[in-house]
């Protein structure tokens, strides 16, 4: 069934049809959200929030862009809002991540140093300017083509290319001299 037809049927009251959309896009939305929050449980909660928001505002979808573009735009905004709300929890989650028990294959020192390194990488990604970060996450975590990233961000493809280049440079700078 075409997405527009499916959306119309959902708007006509066939709520169960929304499950088809959720199943089709949940993995993509989850990956985008993971790019922002880096934690499975948080990403699942936010993914759920994204789909509930999408359902609530489905009537405002006018079909000018594809459904996925509209959905991913909402996913980015909900993730950013959630990050604002959860800023207070950051310190606790960082500590909790570091205090997690080692997996057993590596020595505790190795495990701790890897965790610290990953945490450093995540911080570098999180510290990117908002647009660079958005372009980076959409193109690297969801592997979207630049054309689609441009549509989601409402900028030109050239601008996306520039944002990705600058993001790469910024990451290198931050990780060379942390």
């Amino acid at each position: 069934m075409q997405e527009t037809v499916l959306i119309q049927s959902i708007l006509d009251g066939h709520t169960a049809g929304f499950n088809v959309l959720v199943k089709k896009y949940e993995a993509s939305v989850f990956r985008i959200v993971m790019g922002y929050v880096h934690q499975k449980e948080d990403a699942e909660d936010i993914t759920q929030e994204v789909f509930v928001k999408v359902y609530q505002s489905l009537s405002s979808f006018q079909g000018r862009s594809s459904f996925s573009t509209w959905l991913f735009r909402i996913a980015v905004h909900v993730s950013l809002n959630a990050l604002q709300k959860r800023k207070r929890r950051t310190l606790w989650s960082m500590t909790a991540a570091l205090l997690q028990l080692p997996s057993g294959n590596k020595s505790p020192e190795q495990e701790l140093s890897e965790k610290a390194e990953k945490s450093q990488l995540r911080h570098a990604i999180d510290a990117l300017p908002e647009k660079q970060r958005m372009a980076f996450i959409l193109s690297r975590y969801e592997e979207l083509p630049q054309r689609e990233v441009a549509l989601i961000m409402d900028v030109s493809e050239g601008a996306v290319e520039q944002l990705l280049l600058r993001a790469k440079e910024n990451l290198k700078k931050k990780l060379h001299h942390p």
Partner: protein, 103 residues
């Protein structure tokens, strides 16, 4: 200073790891349950307004039913039937009269 390729590899590794994080297989069920719960909650205020109205209507109906049933009642007992129905009592009187005679 760290090598550029090393940094890129570490970033790629982190992204690959996060991309491959397994999602809860019941996430869609959770989403649909949340939507259903929200719809139910939306419908509830109407019911909450209607609840006292329904309770009052039920009470009025029960009272009306009682009055109507009471008004419509006819015993159907004639005077003869009433006398006959008291036979049991008469027999008891006879019993007492009999015991007095014995004394």
């Amino acid at each position: 200073m760290k090598k550029e390729t090393d940094i890129e590899n570490r970033i790629d590794e982190l992204i690959r790891e996060e991309r491959e994080t397994a999602m809860n297989p019941y996430l869609s069920t959770r989403v649909m349950a949340t939507i259903a719960a929200q719809q139910e909650q939306k419908a509830r205020p109407v019911f909450q307004v209607l609840k006292p109205v329904l309770a009052l209507a039920s009470l009025i109906f029960v009272v009306w039913l009682g009055i109507t049933a009471g008004n419509g009642y006819s015993s159907g007992n004639t005077e003869e039937a009433f006398v006959l129905s008291n036979d049991a009592a008469s027999e008891q009187f006879a019993f007492y009269l009999q015991t007095e005679k014995e004394e």
